[in-house]
Amino acid sequence: MNININMNLVYQLVKNVLKIVTLSIVSHTVIAKTPLVEVRIKDHLFFPSEVIVPADTKVKLLVINDDTTAEEFESYELNREKIIMGNRKSIIFIGPLKAGKYPFFGEFYPKTAQGVIIAQ
């Protein structure tokens, strides 16, 4: 009886691990289909400051920093935080997001670098 329970546990464990691995692989193979949205940083401002993305879809955010200084893209609502060095670009994956507004800001220049992602 005990052996059966243990075997079942092992099966569930293997199944879940495979599921996680498969989902991770799937998430890589569909990169080409992941919508790409571009955001630029210029004079410590985000362009556009309102970024519209599809709801319930994973999005690849391309952040291009046109300033010579570094900026940290940060959003409490999105759980994202990444330094974008001056005159460089970077990728941040966000979502899938429920329909709604998700503010983000530049941590180094928070007074000016403000934006919002609108999932709809």
């Binding site: 994973k58 690849k60 200084t69 180094f108």
Partner: protein, 264 residues
């Protein structure tokens, strides 16, 4: 700019100061001198400088997710070192003397890693002002104030712990280190989600209406226990799983301690 500098530097310094004060409070018991901490801090500062100076090229690795890979590896390293340190930390002088060299490594490696992680951000932030015509003075003053507040809190925690009995101090340090280790592990998972290494699911809950991460208490709780208003399911699993793993290790070590007649 002054206030922004204070907040940014305080946030980074506080996380490091909290960890260092906890570890330093049990250092005498493990025969670890301040010079060892100074060495770890110095190595951390050198590492932070090297990392920050090379962040542009590191960020472009692995399809622009290099930063997430390096940071999550550092976070994972901190979890492992702190987890093992908590498991092997015991109120038994003889036992600790035997493990002295390993305990030193487990205590000082996370110190160096956290200084690399937090120090590199502070360096990039301050250094970026020296590259522009903007006034540097408020940033420098803000950074000094921010780091002074962070260090003062660290010193306060250190002396408060020293005033406690050894038993209470060890228990507090063990619990606090376990929580910090799991918070760091949860951050490692968040970075892997950000890099699309792990599949993203909607957040498990949303407590931002009750306690926002932007609030002072929210930020303090983030630094202390890794509070997140909207955690991903994998982050919660990593946090809880990390705690269970450390607790299991502590119990296992205690069991073998009793078996070999060693006090815990």
């Amino acid at each position: 700019m002054l206030l922004t500098a204070i907040i940014i530097v305080l946030r980074e310094v506080l996380e490091a100061a909290l960890l260092i004060s906890l570890l330093a409070s049990v250092r005498r018991y493990l025969d670890i001198k301040f010079i060892h901490f100074f060495t770890a801090l110095s190595l951390g500062c050198i590492g932070a400088y090297v990392y920050a100076e090379n962040l542009s090229s590191i960020s472009e690795l692995f399809d622009y997710t290099g930063q997430e890979w390096v940071n999550s590896t550092m976070h994972l390293g901190i979890y492992l070192f702190l987890g093992l340190f908590t498991v092997f930390l015991r109120l038994n002088k003889e036992n600790m003397q035997r493990l002295k060299v390993w305990m030193r490594l487990l205590m000082l490696a996370p110190v160096a890693l956290i200084v690399i992680r937090e120090g590199s951000e502070v360096y990039i932030y301050i250094n970026s002002f020296f590259q522009t015509d903007r006034p540097v003075f408020p940033v420098v003053v803000g950074s000094i104030i921010g780091s002074s507040i962070g260090l003062s809190i660290g010193v306060l925690i250190y002396y408060t712990l020293l005033s406690c009995s050894l038993k209470i101090r060890f228990l507090t340090v063990k619990i606090a280190l376990s929580v910090i280790a799991c918070s760091v592990l949860s951050q490692a998972v968040a970075l892997l989600l950000q890099a699309d290494v792990l599949y993203s699911y909607p957040s498990l809950w949303d407590t931002s209406e009750y306690l926002s991460e932007e609030s002072v208490i929210g930020q303090l709780l983030y630094a202390m226990i890794g509070y997140e208003a909207t955690p991903a399911p994998q982050q919660a699993i990593a946090y809880a799983g990390g705690l269970v793993l450390i607790a299991f290790g502590v119990l296992l070590n205690k069991y073998y301690g009793y078996k070999n007649n060693v006090d815990c």
